[in-house]
Amino acid sequence: MIREAYVNALTLALFALIPLWAVLADEPFTITLMTRAAIFAIAAIGLNIALGLGGLVSLGHAVFFGVGGYAMGILAHHAQTYTALSEWPFLIEGTKSMPVIWLAAVVLSALAALVIGILSLRTTGVYFIMITLAFGQMFFFFAISWAEYGGEDGLSIYVRNGFPGLNTLDPIQFYGLCLGLLCLVLVFAWKLAGSPFGLALNAARQAPVRVETVGLDPTRLRLVAFVLSGAIAGLAGALFADLNRFVSPVMFSWQTSGEIMIFVILGGVGRLFGPVIGALVFVALEHWLGGLSEYWHIYLGLLLLLIVLFGRGGLIGMICGREAVHD
């Protein structure tokens, strides 16, 4: 068994070194792939806060991912067409500035998570899975028929949004930005897990009655976790849209929710680096297997199956064994 810390460090090193190599070897697509992995990792870390720490199995995180994506799409679309987003009650203009877009994405997805959370947290277990799925489907079908912003066709923004002082069109610079955010989110998730809030949330997952009898409100703990989790997924959504310079209702689909969840489970639920490793491995597999055969899904399926059957607790569990009791 390898110490988890080593595996984590190795993962970070991969995120740093592979793109570096790609720049030197002039393999820009590898950078794009790594950007994709980093963004998925952010979304999955978001989900992991709800899922791993809070035990909230949300099959609706595509909502937040999509809200983030559409926040970016709509703002950039209006900036591009020089039209105002709304004129009443006050004027809102589009923008092509990433920081502003991120802020909008985070705030809007947090709001969405707040509303969905308040309604969904009345339920537990499988019912929670299904009610979050239901909200996801509502957003999905809404987006499909939202003709103003492209409906099913989605929205293209032709040029990636800007970040002060960087040329975001350069793949490696945009990657750097995403990696930076990934690290920030990681640190946040790490601190969160050890914090009083994290401890209480963790206990609320295992023994809600106990949490209640020490004077805390498990539902409120969960709600806050859900909102944090949604906000992070929203940020990832905005980045993902910027990576593709395109948003579409697919971002809201249950398959997207499922995929984000697969990253977490594949890597290891509740482990800090689980989502990161899951996203990286999944993106790599998808890319590598996709080139092998028309029927590559079969290989992907078999690999995933082997991992579940022979590893306990995802890839991290497989490599490092069960989580060490921390101090």
Binding site: E27, P28, F29, T30, T32, L33, R36, F141, I144, S145, A147, G150, G151, E152, D153, G154, S156, Y158, P171, F240, N244, R245, F246, S248, V250, M251, G290, E294, Y295, W296, H297
Partner: protein
Amino acid sequence: EPVKVGMITTLSGGGAGLGIDVRDGFMLAVKQSGNEEIEVIVEDDQQKPDVAVQLSDKMVQAEKVDVLTGIIWSNLAMAVIPSVTAQGKFYLSPNAGPSQLAGKGCHPNYFNVAWQNDNLHEAAGAYANFAELKNTFILAPNYPAGQDALTGFKRFYKGELAGEIYTKLGQTDYAAEIAQIRASGADGVFFFLPGGMGISFLKQYKDSGVDLPVVGPAFSFDQGILQAVGDAALGVKNTSQWSKDIDNETNKAFVESFQAEYGRLPSLYASQGFDTANLLLSAMAKADVNDADAFRAALEEADFKSTRGNFRFGPNHHPIQDIYVREVIKEGDVYTNKIIGTALTSHADAYWSECSM
């Protein structure tokens, strides 16, 4: 140095049939040309827009392709085409033709070798007039292509509408719609329900005992799908720019060689893939792909033998072509189509005037 072509198409999942046909048609033409100067890289987009975008990035950045092609679905096309043409690459569409790209969003490097999305529906509208339908019930799924379909139909259709409904995307049960049709007093039905939706609709329609005449675009009656619909499709009129019995040498040779090569009848999509490759090969013969202006001019000439017979580009690089009416028949054990007339001759799309190219 050979011309590099990046083909992004759907090769896995439920929609794979279309992508496979486009690919096979395309590769057949390349093979027949014997031209060694062309290299095709094929990738599977899984029918997901974000994957398509990734792949287009890969094609442009890593593979450094000169020409892209292959996308089946409008929403994927909208995600990919504007950005690759903006990067100076050529894109030849073998299937999707969203209206934005024909009108305001047209681009000198974008060529559509299939149709503008509305074309076949417009032809269906024209045919409905010809068949003297006076009170048609029309339906399509509720998404942009579905809305375009009904708009396209109405653009040419002159009669009344007995009803106009949008169904859910991916819907599989049409009992309620069929009941509405029955009660509406319609004298005919137009529908655009691609893929499995169309199969379900037709089977259920047949089983319901409503026997009003049905028209639709070719998509629900194409070679790949017809066998699954079976008897329910017999006699249905559908509009298409291609049919396997179009009478010209190129087409005959294509149908024969495709069958010989792959052991199945070619579909509409296969013909489109085949034509796309031939268009590209014709331009390669005339100009160097690195000389964009010359190459573009060569493409514009469309100097190739199309399986459809007459084929030329309008000012917005979309086809001007005849659109036929076909009827579904049974030849031995195989369901297929037979041309029964021409719905529209030298038809161009409705958006070219908005294109400022």
